[in-house]
Symmetry: C2
Subunit: 230 residues, 2 copies
């Protein structure tokens, strides 16, 4: 399950080029040219993640049929990540349903559903705040696709706030991998989100992910500025 053969838009390609430049920069930083830090301004982006599902190849087959593949609806900011055209409905113990939950690609080793606190209340699912992939002891739900249904045994979470960054970005900010930092969003509803997990990888672009409750609580769509702090 991959996004091979799906054309990437120019914007996405440009990001990847910038990524290569950034990597070269990181290498020079690492080799001791510390004065470069002063010349480098990270391009901080904050995006809202709507409710979504990550899926295994097997679960995709069950829900969409044996020949199903994820197809790109929209490329996401992180290179290689995409919102797929495939959507499911999810049902919780209150027998309420949320429709049109998009699957994000590429496929993963474990299926997982990320919802907001508002969604969790609507569905009646006590979804804990967890980093992606840490699904031990989390509740499951019923997932309905056009061909079949699965009873996901676990994996319904509220995604822990996190920021993707390169080692260069981390160096410039003075953050370390897995550190919790803060995000301040300036708006009519200025808000500082704490416990934002630093995820550092050379393949990442600098981007904070918050959920829809968080994005709406701070009026992110009308924000006048964003900043990261230790």
């Amino acid at each position: 399950m991959s996004a091979i053969n799906i054309p990437m838009p120019r914007e996405q390609l440009e990001r990847i080029v910038r990524q290569v430049v950034r990597q070269q920069f990181a290498d020079r930083l690492a080799s001791g040219e510390q004065q470069l830090a002063a010349a480098y301004t990270p391009n901080l982006v904050v995006n809202t993640s709507a409710r979504h599902m990550h899926i295994t190849p097997d679960d995709l087959k069950t829900l969409f049929g044996p020949d199903a593949e994820l197809t790109v609806f929209r490329w996401l900011y992180q290179p290689g990540e995409f919102a797929s055209e495939q959507r499911v409905s999810i049902i919780g113990p209150r027998r309420r349903m949320i429709e049109n939950v998009r699957i994000l690609g590429p496929a993963r080793k474990e299926s997982q559903i990320e919802i907001s606190g508002t969604d969790a209340i609507a569905l009646g699912i006590k979804a804990p705040v967890r980093p992606s992939g840490k699904t031990d002891g989390t509740p499951g739900c019923l997932v309905v696709g056009p061909v079949g249904t699965i009873e996901l045994p676990r994996g319904v979470i509220r995604a822990e706030r996190h920021v993707h960054m390169t080692p260069t970005d981390a160096a410039v900010y003075g953050f370390t991998k897995s550190q919790y930092i803060k995000l301040r969003v300036h708006s009519d509803s200025t808000t500082t989100f704490e416990k934002v997990l630093c995820r550092v990888d050379e393949k990442f672009l600098l981007e904070v992910h918050v959920d829809t409750d968080e994005g709406n609580a701070c009026d992110l769509a009308n924000a006048t500025g964003v900043e990261l702090m230790a």
Copy 2:
């Protein structure tokens, strides 16, 4: 339009008694016994306000019939305020409807609807962040009751975060009326909300109101602590 003749629960009466005691305390503070401040610990409560409507007597008649009165469903924390049994549906320009929006009593001089950012997006209404009552230039919506319908010309807002407090509480914290302060909620999703408006009145009990997006964003239901800061 009032809540006369509706029995108040014991809990509500106890709050009012505490309020009188607090007022006496305030008077002594004001007369110069500043050392009292050290002995007084404010009882800070943070509550989530779900979407709701405030209504004029005329609009109530239009929606619920000429003899309609607001009847108490549940007393709220602030003395005299209540969630009524009367509910309406609201419809925005996307022709999507939100049902079961509760009217809060007592009736007011102007009808007003307070929704969350998530609701605003669902309805397609660009509701600005406003303190209650400041509805000039705000959008309206269609309001549907069991008897009639009104086209509210304005008054759909996202309520500005605010804290109700007595002059005593304000003195203890060192806050002044109309000052913007901060609320920090400690949880798995620790969050500091800024631009929290201080509303000071001798009739108030100390209580912060946030909307459902804000309450869910900071996981208020599972919070381990709350604090106010300048």
